[in-house]
Symmetry: C2
Subunit: 200 residues, 2 copies
């Protein structure tokens, strides 16, 4: 049973991907409706009919981001790997994605919705929740590391997580500032020397 009415002339899924890259690169506030209409090649009416509002589209884009490029929990919750290996895989993947020349540099959840004006605090909150998801997953991984004896039993899981997650979030700034994949992978290696293992 086909849908009635005039069919949409553009691919909504592709549009979300394009918009995601725009928000990712420029940030929510600095991406105007005019910007979006330009990259999507849409009239105002089509835009609003398809997406509802700028904010609603951002929400869809952020979801798309966490479902694709920004997805990291699968690495961190993979208990077939040792926690250290899981963290290492996540970090390397993060570096590769955030320095790729085929997408904007840095992490969308760190760069696109940190500082919004008063009218758009929901965007900040939404973006924060994505950052929190990653931190929570790191926390789970660190706890596994302690349980398995891969990290000292005295390790403060919360602070150790904060140490790792600060580094993760900092990668975004470095990538945005022009650090290369090679340099950041080396930085990851240095960080992981910190993984205090009785087995090393």
């Amino acid at each position: 049973m086909a849908r009635t009415g005039r069919p949409r002339e553009f691919d909504r899924e592709k549009a979300i991907e394009t918009a995601m890259n725009t928000f990712w690169e420029k940030g929510f506030e600095s991406t105007s409706l005019a910007d979006l209409r330009t990259v999507l090649n849409l009239s105002s009416a089509s835009f609003y009919a398809a997406f509802g509002s700028k904010k609603a589209l951002y929400e869809e884009c952020l979801k798309r981001y966490t479902d694709t490029c920004g997805e990291v929990t699968s690495y961190l919750d993979d208990s077939s790997k040792s926690p250290k290996q899981a963290i290492q895989s996540m970090l390397r993947h993060t570096v590769t994605v955030q320095t790729s020349s085929t997408s904007p540099q840095g992490c969308m959840a760190v760069l696109s919705g940190m500082n919004c004006c008063d009218d758009n605090k929901e965007v900040e909150t939404l973006t924060y929740s994505v950052r929190k998801q990653t931190r929570d997953a790191i926390f789970r991984c660190v706890k596994r590391g302690i349980e398995r004896g891969e990290l000292a039993a005295t390790t403060d899981a919360e602070s150790y997580t904060l140490m790792l997650d600060s580094f993760v979030k900092g990668i975004s700034i470095q990538a945005k500032d022009g650090a290369t994949e090679e340099q950041l992978l080396a930085a990851v290696d240095y960080l992981l020397m910190n993984w205090t293992s009785p087995m090393n």
Copy 2:
């Protein structure tokens, strides 16, 4: 020889400090002229007579920031301390400033000018240069550490710096997201276990 003309009715230095805190908290793009006029309690004419433009005021505020709260090179270039101690002092100071309840959380150079619209790329560039200054100072400190034998001679100074600086920049995100001074100081301690010293 006193200045001629009607005297200014407000304290320009205090105004810069107030504006600095506003830019620091909300970011350049999300701080409107109306916001500034409100917190400074100024008419448009007075604002433009005193500061020239929003961009020019931001520039002064960023300078004020690097001269005061955001100043870290003195810690890093203090050769009376060991490089590790210098890094540690810098990190602890950074955490304390960025989690202080008397000023906005996080670092102004990371949070206030990362993502500007096309018209304000100079603001991005300016803010970037502040981030770079810190990174350069860390680099000098790391090199001293290698020279003094405090870090392995094989250490890649650039990547090691990137590791430390990523953590530094990440502190801003964590502070903005609500991490406390205590938690972040503990994270600093964990990070510095990474300082590979033949003397430890």
